[in-house]
């Protein structure tokens, strides 16, 4: 490891802690208004300012991380999942700063910053070494395409954060009719989903901290271009205790956990992505630990999480949130079009000899684009602003996440180098 990379990883940790601190400040700003001995307005403004300053400081550290890693690694750090996710988080902070400067509302920070923290932590799950570039990535379009696409997506993320606040703002817990209950259920489900992601992070870092390890030997059969069946054996390493073993594999070593010595079952054959078995195992662990975490939160609060947050959001009008969400998406849409479609096509034309090849990643970028196009057109229609549009912004960001992560984890394609 060289000197630059040392600075880089220190700056990264600093950025992470600053983002956490920023989130906490924003949370205090929003939640602590009714604490005794204080003027609510003043309290909100003061803690909001601290939160924003911390976010800026975190972002500066993040930029330091980015450029020192670029210098130390010799190429722009956007070439694998770790680097991309850290970049995405950096772009979200950038988008947040822009939108915050326009609208100056602390609620946005209270929801955008935890999203950033989660994504930074998620990035840290992936191996963080600098990997030299493979020929396909060795082009200046790596800089242009990936950064612009991520910036567009970052604005969608901010749109998502604002939409989520809006949903929590307008949710009506006094309603007992079917539609009202459905809305309560789904908002709670979005929060549950976020808790699952936190559960995932907790289990990964807990077992990593404990040094857990299991190994399997997997035999993979594929058909090469000459039509000949080839079988490749590879070692699959698990960082989480294997509930699921890779398909068609032998156990090499496995530490026991909870008295269990063998994986409980095998991954199905149709999961043909890179390391599909391990990923399925991770999903199962995330669901388990997320569910436990959620149960604990519910036990502590004795009511749905949405009902805990809802009362703190009264001092902003839903229309403003609607506008913030829409505006963020409207800013992001042209950037996304340019980065994820046009620049992607130009690079694909240079690298793969065709500007469009219906590769899963390309298709999902198109799907994301179509989805947000539909969103923008629907907003022209009466009745599609407000809550409905907020739901679309939430679903849109789920589509973005699937494009960025899901495609790499579930579907193998030309973008597989960005996999785990």
């Amino acid at each position: 490891m060289n000197h630059w990379l040392d600075i880089s990883s220190t700056a990264f940790q600093a950025a992470f802690y600053l983002y956490c601190a920023s989130f906490i400040s924003y949370a205090i700003a929003v939640a602590g208004k009714r604490w005794s001995n204080r003027e609510p307005e003043l309290h909100n403004r003061r803690w909001g300012r601290i939160g924003f300053a911390l976010a800026i400081a975190g972002w500066v550290c993040h930029l330091t991380f980015f450029f020192t890693r670029w210098k130390g690694g010799g190429h722009i750090p956007t070439s694998n999942m770790y680097e991309f996710m850290t970049f995405l988080a950096m772009a979200i902070v950038f988008a947040f700063i822009i939108v915050h400067l326009i609208y100056r509302n602390n609620l946005l920070g209270a929801f955008a910053m935890p999203l950033v923290v989660i994504i930074v932590a998620y990035a840290a799950v992936f191996p963080s070494e600098v990997q030299p570039l493979i020929p396909a990535l060795n082009n200046y379009w790596l800089k242009i395409h990936v950064t612009t696409a991520a910036t567009g997506e970052a604005f969608f993320a901010v749109g998502f954060a604002a939409a989520l606040v809006q949903l929590l703002r307008v949710i009506d817990f006094s309603r007992t009719d079917k539609a009202g209950r459905r809305e309560q259920k789904w908002v709670e489900f979005v929060l549950f989903f976020m808790v699952i992601i936190i559960g995932f992070l907790v289990s990964v870092f807990a077992f990593r901290g404990g040094g857990y390890e299991a190994k399997f030997q997997q035999e993979k059969v594929h058909i090469d271009q000459q039509g000949v069946e080839q079988s490749v054996t590879q070692t699959v390493e698990y960082g989480l205790p294997p509930i699921v073993a890779p398909y068609n594999s032998e156990k090499i070593s496995m530490q026991t956990y909870l008295g269990i010595k063998e994986p409980l079952f095998d991954a199905p054959a149709w999961m043909n992505g890179v390391n599909a078995g391990r990923k399925l195992n991770t999903v199962i662990w995330s669901l388990i630990s997320g569910a436990i975490l959620y149960a604990l939160l519910r036990l502590a609060a004795r009511k749905p999480i949405a009902a805990v947050i809802h009362p703190h959001l009264t001092d902003i009008d839903p229309e403003d949130l609607d506008e913030i969400s829409y505006r963020a998406i409207a800013i992001g849409f042209p950037v996304f079009t340019l980065g994820a479609l046009i620049f992607a096509m130009i690079w694909a034309q240079i690298a793969w000899s065709r500007f469009w090849g219906w590769d899963p990643k390309e298709v999902w970028a198109l799907i994301t684009w179509l989805f947000y196009s539909a969103y923008l057109h629907l907003r022209l229609s009466r009745g599609w602003q407000g809550t409905r549009s907020a739901w679309l912004a939430v679903i849109g960001f789920i589509v973005v996440l699937f494009t960025l992560i899901g495609v790499n984890l579930v579907i193998a394609g030309l973008h597989s180098y960005a996999g785990v």
């Binding site: 609208y103 070494e129 020929p135 082009n139 340019l338 479609l341 046009i342 539909a374």
Partner: protein, 559 residues
């Protein structure tokens, strides 16, 4: 249902008009009276709202609906997503029997997927049909709206109906103490400083800026249409070529269907050294570079398989083809696609060895592909009797060739010359430097001797390495012609300009009138109501009316 389309201001509006073209009074009351007006297309009538539609009008009306457009987008989206469940057939190069491949690889669901045609989603009639319908919808939706909008915006009246002003999203009603005409002039001056264009009509005012941003969506749509047409243009055969050629090093091959030949001068593959790799990747073969040093030749004469002449080739372009760096020549592009490590002889220059006298003759040239009929080695003539490019033995032990590739070539020569029987002597020669080949060569030559075809006197010998030309790698290049590409980029560019215009600038208009010392102001924007409220409040503050931007928001009064 026939509306009386004459407004109280005396203006005759076309059927379907929502807001009077002249004074802006709402003509169709389908919204509660206290809610903001629907300002789309300035309330102008669209062609699709024509009465008594004929067939063509019905088609027009269908495609002019934004609702239909959204459905088309959603259906395309779902179709595209379904296409990513399993790999498409087009991603496999040799897939002879897709049905059984999908069944074996992905099980029953894969078989159903393939049988339903989802493994060819993006070439399917329904998917392309959806794209064509989206294209149609783009054209018709745009035309249906842009023309009335253009007309409405180019003949705006300054003095608007009261209900038009009070039902905008941004509204202010207040009393003015100052002289109305002077106040209007002062306020107009403030708006001009904010780069508004201002028109006044006595005590009424209209200020407008960034009208051009309204054309953004339509320019975007034009770009998308150009893009879609260009994509369709790629199906014109003469505009499009997509082929793969595999070339050994030192080999020159014709690009099928063209008068161009491509030569692979040298192929290089480099891997990262361990010290360049992080710990986890050490010991793995991580590619650093694939490169084909290629020369493109244009054929100037005898191009079409003339049996008598070799084609005359002129080098026209030379390039180190890498992933990300194709060779380009007059619209023809050659891309690095793949490579294969496979040692192949191209040419050897063996000596003919006379084991009796110990003398050697030659060397003579032996090209693996297209070897000469007769070669001369010293006083001896070698006549080629048989060529086995990929030598093997059949079930009865007779020599045969396993394929037409020069994997393990063998040559049978008849040698004639001084001190050799008139009918000559037969020898087989394996130029590959492998021990087993040499063994087979000896055996066969010994059996020839037994049959009396030779005396065992001659042998072949390749002296130095420089007498052997071989290829270590076969490179696979993708040859492309795509004459529609410029239009694809132009379409994408226009689209981008439209998006930027529409999303980063916002059309803003402020109307006001003062009636008996009472100011009524209404402001409208198609995007960013927050921005126009701030701007209005800031201009008002400059002329002495201090108001919280939020208080201007008319939507909140109705909650």
């Amino acid at each position: 249902m026939i509306h009386n389309t004459k407004c109280e201001c005396g203006h005759q509006n076309p059927t379907g008009t929502v807001l009077c073209e002249s004074c802006g009074k709402p003509l169709v009351e389908d919204l509660p009276l206290d809610t903001p007006l629907e300002m789309r297309y300035d309330g102008a009538a669209r062609r699709s709202q024509k009465q008594n539609p004929a067939v063509i009008d019905r088609v027009w009306n269908f495609f002019s609906s934004v609702k239909i457009a959204i459905w088309l987008i959603i259906l395309t989206l779902i179709g595209a997503a379904v296409g990513t469940i399993y790999p498409q057939e087009s991603t496999f190069i040799n897939l002879d029997d897709p049905a059984s491949y999908y069944k074996e690889t992905y099980g029953t669901s894969g078989a159903i997927y393939q049988a339903l045609g989802f493994s060819r989603t993006y070439e399917s009639w329904w998917f392309i049909g959806l794209l064509v319908m989206i294209g149609t919808s783009l054209v018709i939706c745009s035309l249906d709206r842009v023309l009335p909008l253009y007309k409405a915006l180019s003949k705006q009246q300054v003095r608007k109906h009261m209900s038009f002003l009070t039902r905008q999203q941004t509204v202010l009603e207040t009393d003015i103490a100052a002289d109305p005409e002077k106040w209007v002039a002062d306020f107009g001056a403030q708006l001009k400083r904010k780069r508004y264009r201002v028109w006044t009509d006595g005590t009424a005012l209209l200020a407008e800026k960034n009208r051009f941003s309204r054309w953004g969506p339509y320019i975007n749509h034009i770009g998308l249409i150009v893009f879609l047409l260009a994509v369709l243009g790629r199906s014109v055969p003469a505009w499009h070529m997509d082929q793969y050629v595999g070339i050994d090093e030192h080999q020159v091959k014709q690009i099928p269907g063209t008068d161009y030949y491509i030569g692979n001068d040298k192929f290089t593959v480099e891997y990262y050294k361990d010290e360049e790799l992080p710990d986890k990747l050490k010991g793995t073969a991580r590619a650093k570079l694939y490169q084909t040093q290629a020369t493109l030749y244009a054929c100037t004469q005898y191009c079409n398989d003339d049996p008598l002449h070799d084609p005359v080739l002129k080098p026209v372009e030379s390039h180190a083809i890498e992933v990300n760096s194709p060779l380009e020549y007059k619209g023809l592009k050659l891309y690095q696609y793949n490579f294969e490590e496979k040692v192949r002889l191209i040419e050897v220059k063996p000596m003919l060895l006379d084991t009796v006298s110990g003398k050697s003759y030659g060397p003579f040239d032996l090209k693996m592909s297209d070897p000469a009929e007769k070669s001369q080695a010293g006083p001896y003539t070698l006549t080629l009797r048989d060529v086995y490019p990929d030598f093997g033995l059949d079930e009865e032990g007779r020599p045969m060739t396993k394929s037409r590739d020069f994997n393990n070539p063998a040559f049978v020569f008849r040698i004639t010359g001084p001190d050799v029987d008139e009918k000559g002597e037969l020898y087989i020669y394996f130029p590959m430097p492998s021990a087993s080949d040499k063994g087979v060569q000896q055996q066969i030559n010994a059996s020839f001797k037994k049959l009396g075809s030779n005396t065992g006197r001659f042998n072949f010998q390749v002296g130095k390495m420089e007498n052997v030309t071989f290829s270590q790698y076969t490179t696979f290049l993708n040859v492309r012609v795509d004459r529609a590409m410029p239009y694809v980029w132009v379409g994408a560019g226009i689209s981008m300009i439209g998006l930027v215009m529409g999303f980063y600038w916002h059309h803003r208009r402020i109307w006001l009138r003062i009636d008996g010392g009472r100011l009524t102001l209404g402001a409208h924007t198609n995007k960013n109501t927050y921005g126009i409220r701030n701007e209005t409040a800031s201009a008002l503050a400059k002329v002495g009316i201090v108001v919280d931007p939020k208080a201007l928001d008319n939507r909140r009064n109705t909650r």
